[in-house]
C-alpha cells in the first residue's frame, strides 16, 4: 500500500475506527502518513479548544418549557423599521468610507507581516518552549519573532551536554523576506561554576528582569556571526567554547499551527508529553502557554504555571497530595477543588494503555518569583523535571 491508498485511512485510524491491517502497517511505518496523523491530532485539539472557547460565549437560553408562548426573536428583529432618508445616506457614506479604510489597512498589513518562526537547540536537547530557567537540567527554547518585533533577543539553552553550564546567546533578526532571513547571532558556552542559571542571572541583574544588555557582558569574546539564512534548511551555528547549535526556521504569512518538534504519536509508557497544551478550567479559563515539553523516566514530571492559580504538576505515578487524572490520547480531565480541568495537547500526553492515568497536583498560589524566577507572573509556562520530588521540595521552600 502507498500513501495515496492509505490516505483515507489515516483519519479513521486516528478516530479509532476499524482500519485494514495493511493500511495500519503503512501508516505507522511511513513518516508522511504519521505526520498527517499528527496534523489531524492537532486539528482535533484545536477544534476542542475552539468549542471550549465558544462555550464561554454562550449567553443563557431560556428553557422553552418556561416560555409563555413561542418566541421568534429573529423574526422580531427582522421586522421593517422606518429610517429617515438622511440617516440612510449617512449610513451608506460611513460604510463606503470604512470599506476603503479597511482595504488600505489590510493591504499595508499584508505587505509587512511576514513571520519568521525558528527554533534553535542543542543537538541532543529534546525540549522547547518558554523557559523556566531554574532547576531545569534539560531544556531548549524556541521563539517566534514577527517582522514588526525584530530586534535582539537573549536565550539560554541547557542540555545534558552542557554539564554544569549553559549555552547563552543573543539572536538579532534583522530582515525577513520570503526567500531569506538576515540575522546575527552571538553564542557562547558559559560555565556557571556549579551555580544555577537563576543565580547567574540574579547576579547580573539583582533588581529586576534579566535583559538582553545583561547578557552582553557574559557573551564578551564570542564572535558575532552574520547569516543569510535560507528558510527550511538546518543551520549549524558554532558555539564559542565548543559545541554546535542547530538552527531551523520557516517564513510564512502566519505562524505555524504545529509544533516543529517531532513529538511521539505513541509516547513510551514512561513518557509525559505536553505538546502546545491548552488548559480549560470549568470552561471559563483558557490558557495557552505555548511551547512543549517531553520528559521520561519513572520519577519524571511536567508542570504548567497557571497565573492566578499556581503550578500544576503532572506525573506518571502517584505522589503525596496528587489527584488522579484520566488521559485519553491528547486530552486529560481531572477535578481539583471542585473544579473540572481539561487539558488538550497536540499529541498524546502519556503512553501505555488507553485510557490511562496520570497524577496531578496543584501547588496553589505558586508565583514564579517563589522559585527565584524573574518572570512576568501573568505569563503561563510549561516545564519539566526528571524528579517530581525535587519540584515538590522547591515548592515547599
Amino acid at each position: 500500500m502507498d500513501c495515496i491508498a492509505a490516505e483515507p485511512f489515516v483519519g479513521m485510524l486516528y478516530d479509532g475506527e476499524e482500519v485494514p491491517e495493511e493500511a495500519v502497517q503503512h501508516i505507522t511505518g511511513c513518516p508522511a502518513c504519521r505526520s498527517r496523523l499528527r496534523e489531524y491530532a492537532a486539528i482535533a485539539s484545536e477544534i476542542r479548544i475552539l468549542a471550549a472557547a465558544e462555550a464561554q460565549d454562550l449567553r443563557p437560553l431560556t428553557s422553552p418549557a418556561a416560555l409563555p408562548s413561542r418566541r421568534r426573536w429573529r423574526f422580531t428583529l427582522g421586522s421593517p423599521v422606518r429610517v429617515p432618508r438622511f440617516a440612510l445616506v449617512m449610513g451608506i457614506a460611513i460604510i463606503a468610507g470604512l470599506s476603503v479604510a479597511v482595504g488600505y489597512v489590510e493591504k499595508q498589513r499584508r505587505s509587512q507581516d511576514l513571520w519568521f518562526e525558528c527554533d534553535f537547540r542543542l543537538p541532543q536537547s529534546q525540549y522547547t518552549g518558554p523557559i523556566h530557567p531554574a532547576n531545569m537540567p534539560e531544556l531548549g527554547w524556541g521563539f517566534r519573532p514577527p517582522a514588526r518585533l525584530l530586534g535582539p533577543r537573549p536565550f539560554f539553552l541547557v542540555g545534558p551536554e552542557t554539564q554544569l553550564g549553559a549555552v547563552a546567546g543573543i539572536i538579532d533578526i534583522q530582515q525577513v523576506r520570503s526567500d531569506g532571513v538576515d540575522f546575527a547571532i552571538q553564542t557562547k558556552h558559559i560555565d556557571t561554576g556549579g551555580e544555577s542559571l537563576k543565580a547567574l542571572m540574579e547576579k547580573q541583574r539583582p533588581d529586576g528582569p534579566f535583559r538582553v544588555d545583561d547578557l552582553r557582558d557574559i557573551l564578551s569574546g564570542a564572535p558575532l556571526r552574520h547569516y543569510r539564512y535560507e528558510p527550511g534548511t538546518m543551520l549549524r551555528v558554532p558555539i564559542e567554547g565548543g559545541g554546535t547549535l542547530l538552527f531551523h526556521g520557516e517564513v510564512g504569512d502566519k505562524l505555524s499551527a504545529f509544533s516543529r518538534q517531532d513529538f511521539p504519536l505513541e509516547p513510551a509508557s514512561d513518557e509525559i508529553v505536553l505538546d502546545q497544551p491548552a488548559l480549560v478550567v470549568e470552561k471559563s479559563l483558557i490558557l495557552r502557554p505555548g511551547g512543549a515539553v517531553k520528559v521520561s523516566g519513572p520519577k519524571a514530571c511536567a508542570y504548567m504555571y497557571i497565573p492566578g492559580k499556581g503550578l500544576l504538576v503532572l506525573a506518571l505515578h502517584a505522589f503525596s497530595g496528587a489527584h488522579e487524572a484520566a488521559v485519553d490520547r491528547s486530552d486529560a480531565m481531572f477535578e481539583l477543588d471542585h473544579e473540572w480541568y481539561y487539558l488538550f495537547a497536540h499529541t498524546p500526553i502519556a503512553g501505555g494503555d488507553r485510557p490511562n492515568t496520570i497524577w496531578v497536583y496543584l501547588a496553589k498560589n505558586y508565583e514564579p518569583s517563589q522559585s527565584g524566577l524573574k518572570w512576568n507572573p501573568g505569563n503561563p509556562f510549561v516545564g519539566s523535571a526528571p524528579d517530581v520530588a525535587q519540584v515538590l521540595d522547591q515548592l515547599k521552600k
Binding site: M12, E17, I47, E54, A55, L58, P145, P289
Partner: protein, 177 residues
C-alpha cells in the same frame, strides 16, 4: 445524573423537572453544534429552541435501543436546521475577524490559530463541519454520526476525510494558499 430512560419517561409524563434536566444537560452542546453547522448563532439558537420545544410538546420518536437521548436530540435538531437552510446567512458573513496587533507572540499564535480554524471551518460544507464537530467535540463514532446525520456510513467516512483534508489545506502548515 438521571439516565436517558428515566429522563425520557419523565418528559413523556409531562414532568417539567425532567425536561429542565434535559435542557440543562444538552442545550449548550446542542447550540454549539448547531452554531457550527449553520454558521449562524441566531439561526442555531432558534433551531435549538424549536427542537426542545418540539420535544416538550410532541414527545415521541425516541427509542433507547437506537442510541442515546443526546444523539436523538442532535439528530432532530440537525434535521430542523437543514429544513431551514435557506435562512442561514452566506458563509462570508461569518468569517472570523483578523486578530488585532499582538502583545505577545505566543498569545497571537493562539489567536491566529483560532481565527484560522474558524475561517477554515466556515469554508467547509455544513455536513463536513457537523461531522468534524460531532467527532472531535462530542466524540461520536462513525455509526452514531451516521444516525444523527441520517447518511450512510460510507458517506460519513468520505465526508470526514474530505473535511479533514480541506481543513488541513486551508489551515495547516501555517501557510495560506
Amino acid at each position: 445524573m438521571a439516565n436517558d430512560q428515566t429522563l425520557w419517561q419523565g418528559i413523556v409524563n409531562g414532568e417539567r423537572a425532567a425536561f429542565d434536566t434535559l435542557f440543562r444537560l444538552y442545550s449548550a452542546p446542542l447550540r454549539l453544534f448547531l452554531r457550527r453547522y449553520t454558521s449562524c448563532p441566531d439561526a442555531a439558537d432558534d433551531v435549538a429552541q424549536e427542537t426542545f420545544l418540539q420535544l416538550w410538546k410532541r414527545h415521541n420518536g425516541f427509542d433507547p435501543a437506537r442510541g442515546t437521548l443526546k444523539q436523538y436530540l442532535f439528530g432532530i435538531a440537525r434535521k430542523q436546521a437543514a429544513h431551514r437552510r435557506k435562512e442561514w446567512p452566506p458563509p462570508e458573513a461569518e468569517l472570523a475577524a483578523e486578530p488585532e496587533a499582538p502583545l505577545a507572540t505566543v498569545a497571537v499564535a493562539a489567536e491566529e490559530r483560532t481565527a484560522d480554524l474558524n475561517e477554515a471551518l466556515v469554508r467547509l460544507e455544513p455536513e463536513e463541519r457537523a461531522l468534524l464537530w460531532l467527532r472531535e467535540v462530542e466524540g461520536y463514532s462513525y455509526a452514531e454520526m451516521s444516525e444523527i446525520l441520517g447518511v450512510p456510513l460510507g458517506t460519513v467516512k468520505s465526508k470526514l476525510f474530505s473535511a479533514r483534508a480541506a481543513l488541513r489545506r486551508v489551515w495547516c502548515n501555517g501557510r495560506k494558499e
